[in-house]
Symmetry: C2
Subunit: 477 residues, 2 copies
């Protein structure tokens, strides 16, 4: 459950982050962002089970539609966002690059909602009430949803369709191009960890990259974090230490049980990972509001190597970059991070059927505590929670893992400041695939709207992406 | 129902043909055929529904296994026959080329049985008793069965896997390579009408090619057939004419009702199509035993243009080439062709879910009676029979129709004496696909064992196929 929740929270929090950061954008006078994210909300009827023609059940898939940029020649490109784990409106509002490019290339813009998220619930309010309803939550069903929606939008016209997606949405965009190349002309898969699966990528890569991001700002920064885990446990183990810990951190719910301490430490784990993912060069709102370059801000507070009470105080101050940047919060609510939202539950189910992303860490190579990857326990937890046993190798069996030489017209972009880049495609398998590395980029920064603070590498990446997408469209015509 | 049955019978009878022709092979001293078709019969457990991880039901897929040719290096090629609509042992015994090639290239040989056929029944004896059991009979489930079986056979060794298939089996081999190129290195798709679908290939192509085969032997041959349909109806319409018709044809069940006449005419329709498909250059056993070059034999009996009673007598004599070549049959059993076998039922279901192959004919361009393609009626018949509505465009949506430029390493071979060649791939979409035309070939003649009577074009085709497959294997290593 821990690993599962933890993995889930990476993805889910990035969405929450996207929601929150959008508020920042709205407060900033970036004209393009405000003007372009206008859309109609539409519905498209899809089968609950695309693979069983005896099952006649259907439901409404929600999608967003903007046709203001496209010319009326019936041949304009379609930019299609392959929605991932969340309400589709969040992605529409936080994928500014796609809107900017649509205006440049006169494309229609579609954002399709992923089944089981947002308002696209196959069984309405009962969607999550019955285990048998969960069997249709799979990558293959989602790709079919999107393919059929595209076919209906095309209405037999010849128009090039480009798929866009970030994170899990980028995985879907890439897989869509692999399996339906006759429908999708090309795909921009931003920060898509399609190799973060069993037997392909070591389970500790995520924690290693996260560690190296902190170390790159200052060696002492990651060492302090590394030393803090035992410090917290030592303080907690004694009655007066526990009191001091509670006093320093001002928890909304003071640590009492061992379980509380573990919750808090898991929360810190997520804080460090989320700070790294959202390590953008401008102020942004993540789970709490963040300064520009939040890891740098965090690490400047841990420049010296501390021990004991000094380390405790320094850690509290540093963590406040994440938990209380606005200095308006009265107490630290480490428990709310573990609330399960609707979207979060669908994601937990996906990590329990196909999307098993092995994660582990060790104190030797990383700043994190030891946490081994134990699939057997992982599987048991899934069964306990959802009556589902994960298929460890399902995705690799279907999509080929590293064996990408047979596919074409996919851009795999990855930021080196993104912990997920370790599971991304960093080497091209043939001349028809493009790998774009963004040294100064955090999690799919390239998909976001242009910003004056953008580093040169993401500006260059967007230009290259535009050049390639233009070529795909030209070749299509 | 008529069209459905009719379509089904094309495929099904070709299998029956394969069974029967195998008796011919066994009677003929062709050493290779006898020696090589030895195999173990094995079972492999597969999920009933590969796409629903909540559904835990499984069943045993049957497959045939021969490892006598392969060297023991753990890197020998695997030749994998993607079983089609029938008992897998029939295909093993009638795909001699694959065995010959396996011996030459030291490959393991696998023949996998298609679910819902032979002994691979997902719900055992109840498989066809309940409509809800029919929902897992689909191309996608079959490809998953084969993919998972291959993975288990590979057991993590690196071995090139080549798929082989004829007719619908060839379609599966091609689709397998399209969707699982990381598992299948290449595919020989022999006489695979993957373009015989709505909106791609005209529905009358099959009847036109069949007609042209007869016309190529003699113009009068197809004209006599064309004229005979009305003749039979005219004779049947009068009491003494009906008597004469029954006397000339010696039916086991004399024609009494209009329904009997229609059965007989449908039967004739199939006879002409089957004669064309099995138009092999050596004696063979189809629904009844056939001489070498049966269309030629048939047409030599219709060299003159006949009318009235003369035409009736000539037609009877010509049809006897098909119905009574051995001259041992006492009466003509036109009704038995419409008996539904177990395999036949599964095929009928497939033509009612995904494999909708539009067929039509008209008296202007063909020797066949007018028969329009009426999907609405077709769909109603499917619903009446199986409570299933066909998805007219399902296959093209998934596999791209003519849009093959994204795929590679598939040989599409087609014989020009084969009515199914009209729905085959006759032009290559890129340099990584191969099209082999066999002017003197009937339905997937190239997959059969070498025979002294083989025309040069099929000998050349097999050589070219071997050369290409060798290259795939070489490139793999």
């Amino acid at each position: 459950m821990f690993r599962n929740s933890n993995i889930s929270s990476h993805f889910w929090k990035i969405i929450t982050f996207l929601i929150l950061i959008s508020q920042f954008w709205c407060a900033t006078p970036v004209h393009v962002e405000k003007r372009t994210t206008q859309y109609e909300i539409r519905k498209f009827r899809v089968p609950v089970d695309h693979f069983n023609l005896v099952n006649n059940k259907t439901f409404d898939l929600r999608y967003l539609y903007n046709d203001t940029f496209a010319d009326k020649s019936d041949s304009a490109p379609i930019f299609f966002y392959t929605g991932n784990e969340g309400d589709i409106e969040l992605f529409a509002k936080n994928t500014g690059f796609m809107w900017e490019l649509a205006e440049n290339l006169r494309a229609s813009v579609i954002f399709a909602e992923h089944r089981y998220y947002g308002k696209s619930l196959p069984f309405g309010d009962n969607t999550f009430n019955d285990t048998s309803n969960l069997g249709y939550l799979s990558v293959e069903q989602v790709l079919e949803d999107y393919g059929k929606l595209i076919q209906s939008l095309l209405a037999n016209h010849r128009r090039p369709v480009i798929a866009f997606g970030g994170s899990y949405g980028g995985m879907l965009a890439a897989w869509m191009r692999m399996k339906y190349p006759h429908i999708i002309e090309g795909a921009l898969a931003a920060s898509a960890p399609i190799l973060q699966f069993n037997g392909i990528t070591p389970c500790d890569i995520f924690s290693k990259i996260t560690t190296s991001i902190y170390t790159s700002y200052s060696k002492n920064c990651s060492t302090n974090i590394k030393n803090s885990w035992n410090l917290f446990r030592t303080y907690f183990s004694k009655e007066d230490g526990k009191k001091e810990l509670n006093a320093v951190f001002k928890f909304c719910d003071p640590l009492k049980q061992e379980e509380d301490l573990n919750h808090f430490l898991d929360y810190l784990n997520d804080v460090y990972e989320n700070l790294a993912m959202a390590n953008y060069p401008y102020e942004n709102d993540f789970l709490s509001p963040l300064p520009a370059n939040p890891v740098y801000q965090f690490c400047t507070l841990l420049e010296d190597l501390h021990v004991d009470k000094e380390l405790l105080l320094a850690m509290h101050k540093a963590i406040s970059v994440y938990t209380n940047f606005t200095t308006t919060l009265k107490c630290l609510d480490y428990k709310s991070a573990f609330d399960t939202t609707l979207g979060g539950m669908a994601w937990d189910i996906q990590t329990c059927n196909q999307l098993v992303l092995p994660m582990c860490s060790n104190t030797k190579d990383t700043m994190f505590p030891n946490a081994e990857w134990n699939f057997s326990k992982y599987s048991d937890d899934c069964y306990k929670n959802f009556k589902i046993r994960p298929e460890l190798n399902d995705i690799t069996f279907r999509y080929g893992g590293k064996n990408l030489k047979f596919t074409s017209n996919i851009i795999f972009s990855n930021g080196l400041l993104d912990p997920w880049s370790g599971g991304g495609v960093l080497e091209t398998a043939n001349n028809d695939l493009n790998v774009i590395i963004i040294p100064e980029g955090a999690h799919h920064l390239d998909l976001r709207s242009s910003n004056p603070a953008d580093p040169p590498s993401v500006q260059a990446a967007r230009k290259e992406e535009e050049r390639i997408i233009k070529r795909w469209i030209r070749n299509y015509y």
